[in-house]
């Protein structure tokens, strides 16, 4: 028999992550404080073990009474928090209290720091209460996960999950582009020959199905499942979930790709004439029109962390755009041939590109440098990152999913699946272990364990929200719509202190005072007797002083440089990490 959530792995053997107990013998070489800590942790674990034994013993003996002794908590205080869990919630840097001159401000900042610390710890503790755990797939010893077929996964998973693997055969109007809503509940399909369908893919109930009698190049959901945009042969259309045409935007013509920026309520479109346009869908205003001068724009991706649009061009470059600047923020040469696909991961740190040179590159977007590169047999036509960082790529009719690509070069995919036809659109479903692929003969939904975020935040995206909740969310989201002017490469910049430089400060002071208090009066040679104050000798003395000053200056700066160099060399390189490449 199978329980609804029956999982087919070692029943009841939950892996508990005890810190490894150190043997007292291994502590001989430690320093005083470390030794004390180790000793304490050893004692702690010993006590823990004893306590567990005691509990087991008392159970075995039928729970004998503890006697008249008052019970004492063997682990007083709050439970310790592992550092990596705390680190996840830390933002920014601690304020440098020593630099603050005013006592009152220093006290205020210290109090704030305490509060922030407490909030971080509470948030880290909150993780314990999260109900779900992410999915995973592990092969038997010697078995590659990429050889496991979808049918096997579906069979091994529970019934509810098995229904998430399905195939829609729509071989009349293909190939299909597709899109999921942000809570991941609804699916939108757009066949090139005009077939547009919106459905709740979990219950498989159809919202609407229309044929727009025109070529459809791309489809995308807007902020809720009530509206979607369809890029048709000439113009851009907006329909509601009943298939009623709400708007026809004739200023957006020849659109090839669309991306919706949910927090800004912007629809970014890339056209065949090389225009990148932004439409504010909350007020229906065109925010920006940018002539990219990059030819036909068939490759587009958005960075979900900072709402920057990435465009791939036929000359192998990828350009980064914000609606505020008419020039690309960054232009990167990524491939020798044209760029075929671009995708950015959810943290906004890594970008995957594939090109006609059949290569797949992973770029670090902080340094704009490649971190991994691999050659695919046919080259990837579509790329997509999942919420937890899996990368899906389509090579013709083969869909491959890679795991941990930025960290290590994958020699084998995590999962692989062959479609009946060449793929045309690819998206991971948010908050589900599902990868949707639109292809020439319809749509396939694949199970990719470990793809989706296990625990959603209902105030952000709730897959189970009711109509009323959605309406409330919509109002809230509209109220905190981020203006398009705030789209920058670093969205956190707005919260940073705009410290003025030393020069600026000095300049302002001079302005305020009317003179420069730090200015040194020029050297005036003293008058000497016996004809030694001739014009020539005066000049000579002046020069001598000036030269000496300059020499001192140079000597000082050289010393500083050397000291910095030595300090850098003397500092021990503890461990090589992925971030070392940013060091100078």
């Amino acid at each position: 028999m199978m329980s609804p959530l029956g999982l087919h792995y070692g029943a009841g053997c939950r892996h508990v992550d005890w810190p490894r107990a150190q043997s007292p013998r291994s502590m001989i070489g430690c320093g005083g404080r470390e030794r004390k800590n180790l000793a304490r942790s050893w004692r702690l674990h010993a006590v823990q073990a004893l306590r567990m034994e005691a509990v087991a013993g008392s159970r075995a003996h039928g729970g004998s009474a503890g006697g008249g002794k008052k019970k004492r908590d063997p682990f007083p205080g709050a439970a310790p928090l592992p550092q990596h869990k705390v680190k996840k919630f830390q933002r920014g840097q601690k304020s440098q209290l020593a630099e603050v001159s005013s006592q009152r401000l220093r006290d205020h900042l210290a109090l704030l720091e305490q509060k922030v610390e407490l909030a971080v710890q509470q948030a880290a503790r909150m993780e314990l209460l999260l109900p779900e755990e992410p999915g995973f797939l592990e092969g038997d010893p010697g078995e590659d996960t990429c050889t496991i077929a979808q049918a096997d996964i579906a069979e091994a998973a529970d019934i509810a999950s098995a229904t998430k693997h399905f195939e829609l055969t729509l071989n009349q109007f293909g190939p299909y582009r597709m899109d999921y809503t942000r809570p991941g509940r609804h699916l939108l399909l757009g066949g090139r020959r005009g077939h547009v369908a919106a459905l709740d893919w979990q219950t498989k109930s159809l919202l609407c199905e229309i044929n727009v009698m025109e070529t459809v190049t791309d489809v995308t959901w807007l902020h809720t499942e009530n509206m979607f945009a369809v890029a048709q042969r000439r113009w851009l259309y907006v329909y509601d979930n009943q298939g009623v045409e709400l708007n026809c935007l004739k200023r957006f013509n020849g659109v090839l790709r669309m991306e919706f920026l949910p927090y800004h309520f912007l629809l970014a479109t890339a056209s065949e004439t090389g225009f990148l346009q932004y439409l504010d869908i909350s007020v229906g205003k065109e925010v920006a029109t940018i002539c990219t001068r990059g030819g036909r724009l068939g490759v587009m991706g958005q960075n979900p962390a900072n709402a920057i649009i990435h465009l791939g061009h036929s000359n192998g470059t990828v350009t980064l755009w914000s609606p505020n600047i008419k020039e690309p923020l960054v232009r990167m040469l990524c491939h020798r041939g044209g760029v075929r696909a671009v995708a950015v991961d959810s943290s906004g740190m890594y970008m995957a590109t594939s090109g006609l040179d059949r290569k797949l590159h992973i770029y670090d977007l902080r340094a704009y440098q490649p971190v991994q590169s691999l050659v695919l047999p046919v080259g990837a036509g579509h790329l997509s990152f999942s919420q937890r960082g899996l990368l899906a790529a389509t090579c013709g009719e083969v869909v491959q999913v890679y795991r941990d690509v930025p960290m290590q070069p994958p020699h084998k995919p995590y999962l692989s699946h062959t479609l009946p036809w060449t793929a045309h659109g690819l998206r991971f479903c948010p908050f589900e272990d599902v990868l949707g692929v639109g292809h020439g003969s319809g749509f396939t939904s694949l199970l990719v364990p470990g793809a989706g975020q296990a625990n959603f935040d209902a105030l952000e995206n709730n897959p189970f929200r009711s109509r009323k909740q959605r309406q409330e969310w919509e109002v809230k989201a509209l109220l905190e719509k981020i203006p398009s002017e705030l789209i920058t490469l670093d969205p956190g910049q707005l919260g940073q202190v705009d410290a003025i430089t030393m020069e600026q400060k000095h300049h302002e002071r001079v302005e305020r005072l009317g003179f420069d208090p730090q200015a040194k009066p020029a050297f005036q040679p003293r008058r000497k007797l016996k004809g030694r104050s001739s014009a020539g000798s005066l000049l000579q003395r002046k020069r001598k002083v000036a030269n000496e000053e300059q020499r001192t200056k140079i000597r000082k700066s050289l010393e500083q440089q050397q000291a910095a160099e030595q300090e850098r060399k003397a500092a021990p390189r503890a461990q090589s990490s992925a971030l070392d490449r940013f060091r100078k």
Binding site: G10, S161, D457, L486
Partner: protein, 445 residues
């Protein structure tokens, strides 16, 4: 093969019946909340705008006096009671919850110059132009009874102000000299003078209760200790100080309302420099009163406006004015830190909220949480130019606006002149004198 695919049981996420609350599972992982800072910024901007939308500080006008309101006093025990004295010698006692006058008595002939309550709240004292000090019971006479003072002291000179000791049965009056009286006696315990001049106001320190401060018309602020027979020290300013008010939380700090449009906060130990100069009024400041927290104070001015200043800031955070309010003569901050009362020339007492956009009444917990969150956001982003601009904007009546502009131009011209003078003189020959010291002429001990 071991596999686990995400599969959520809808029962854990959807409420069972319509009577239940909706389930809202939270996950505070920063990865699920992108654009943290821009979204908070937008929320802060919205909160600031809403604050300005809801800023409706004026609550009520208490009318009934038949002449300008000259002085007011708070009841030490009852939040809803306030006393006021008018220029025609009439004293009224008001009930603030009902917003009506509960008692009227003709206390003096001519002005009621000063009014103060006894610390226990059973009686109050008035001084008037008829050279008398009168003590009255807080409760009125029974039906058919006559309004009669408990005591009347006939003085030799005019009294201009009165204040009661915070703990003992002692009060102080001022006029030609500062007199300290025992309640039981008809002559002062001691009279304190320093030079011959009329003294406009006297105030007891609420913490160090033996200390008194007074302001005289020869531009002095004089400090006294009740236990000594001579004054402690005095500071001479550029212009006359009208009143002063002690900080109820910090014993040494007091703020004085000056004729030169400014207020000066002093530390009584270091009188050679003021702690802060508060500028914004465009005419003489007539009265000042501290909030019970000691963090802010309210000032009333001849320019027909009331301003609220933080103690540590040089400019006001709020200005209140109406079309009908004339020169504001007296102002009080109520003991619950929520309201401000001001009495003005045109015979009305006005009741204002101390925090203009505050919602009065009971708040539901969610409302309170939202309010606190918004408050924090406003604080966090207060220095951003957009938000600062909206938060700072106040509509001012045209005369005040123009006068302020003119004053700014004058100040700028003086600054420029000084700058030029400094530029063309020997470096160091023109010393910098800070605004805090500029207006202090001398300190005498």
């Amino acid at each position: 093969m071991r596999v686990k695919v995400l599969s959520r049981n809808p029962d854990d996420y959807i409420r069972e019946t319509k009577q239940d609350l909706q389930r809202v599972p939270r996950n505070y992982d920063p990865a699920l909340h992108p654009f943290e800072v821009p979204r908070e910024y937008v929320r802060a901007l919205n909160a600031t705008k809403l604050e300005r939308v809801f800023a409706k500080p004026f609550l009520a006008s208490l009318d009934g006096h038949r002449d300008g309101v000259n002085c007011m006093a708070k009841h030490p025990q009852s939040l809803s009671t306030v006393l006021s004295g008018a220029c025609d010698g009439e004293v009224k006692i008001w009930n603030l919850t009902k917003r009506e006058c509960i008692r009227t008595l003709q206390a003096h002939e001519g002005f009621v110059r000063g009014i103060c309550t006894r610390f226990c709240g059973t009686s109050f004292f008035t001084v008037g132009d008829d050279k008398t000090v009168k003590q009255w019971k807080m409760e009125g006479p029974g039906y058919g009874g006559k309004e009669e003072p408990l005591h009347t002291i006939l003085g030799k000179t005019l009294y201009t102000g009165i204040d009661h000791h915070w703990k003992e049965a002692v009060f102080a009056t001022c006029g030609h000299q500062v007199d300290i009286w025992d309640e039981q006696r008809n002559s002062p315990i001691c009279s304190l003078t320093w030079g011959v001049d009329s003294i406009s106001s006297v105030k007891f320190n609420p913490i160090e209760t033996h200390l008194l401060g007074s302001c005289a018309s020869d531009r002095n602020i004089v400090l006294y200790d009740m236990r000594q027979s001579t004054p402690l020290k005095k500071v001479i300013l550029d212009m006359r100080t009208n009143t002063l008010c002690w900080n109820p939380m910090e014993a040494f700090i007091f703020t004085s309302a000056n004729e030169d449009h400014n207020l000066y906060t002093f530390d009584m130990r270091f009188l050679d420099s003021s702690v802060m100069v508060h500028m914004d009024h465009v005419s003489a400041v007539l009265d000042v009163d501290y909030s019970p927290t000691g963090k802010e104070f309210v000032s009333a001015s001849f320019d027909k406006s009331v301003r609220i200043f933080p103690v540590d800031k040089g400019h006001s955070r709020e200005v209140y004015h109406t079309k009908r309010m004339q020169h504001v003569i007296t102002v009080k901050w109520t003991s619950d830190n929520k309201y401000i009362l001001c009495g003005s020339d045109e015979m009305n007492i006005r009741l204002w909220k101390a925090n203009a956009s505050e919602k009065l009444g009971v708040l539901v917990p969610r409302e309170r949480a939202a309010m606190n969150y918004n408050q924090k956001l406003k604080e966090k982003f207060q220095h951003h130019p957009q938000i600062k601009r909206i938060a700072r904007h106040r509509h001012l009546p045209k005369p005040i606006y123009n006068q302020a502009k003119e004053l700014r131009i004058m100040r700028e011209a003086r600054r420029r002149k000084e700058l030029n003078r400094r530029k063309h003189s020997k470096p160091g020959s023109l010393p910098f004198v800070s605004e805090k010291k500029k207006h202090i002429v001398a300190v005498v001990k």
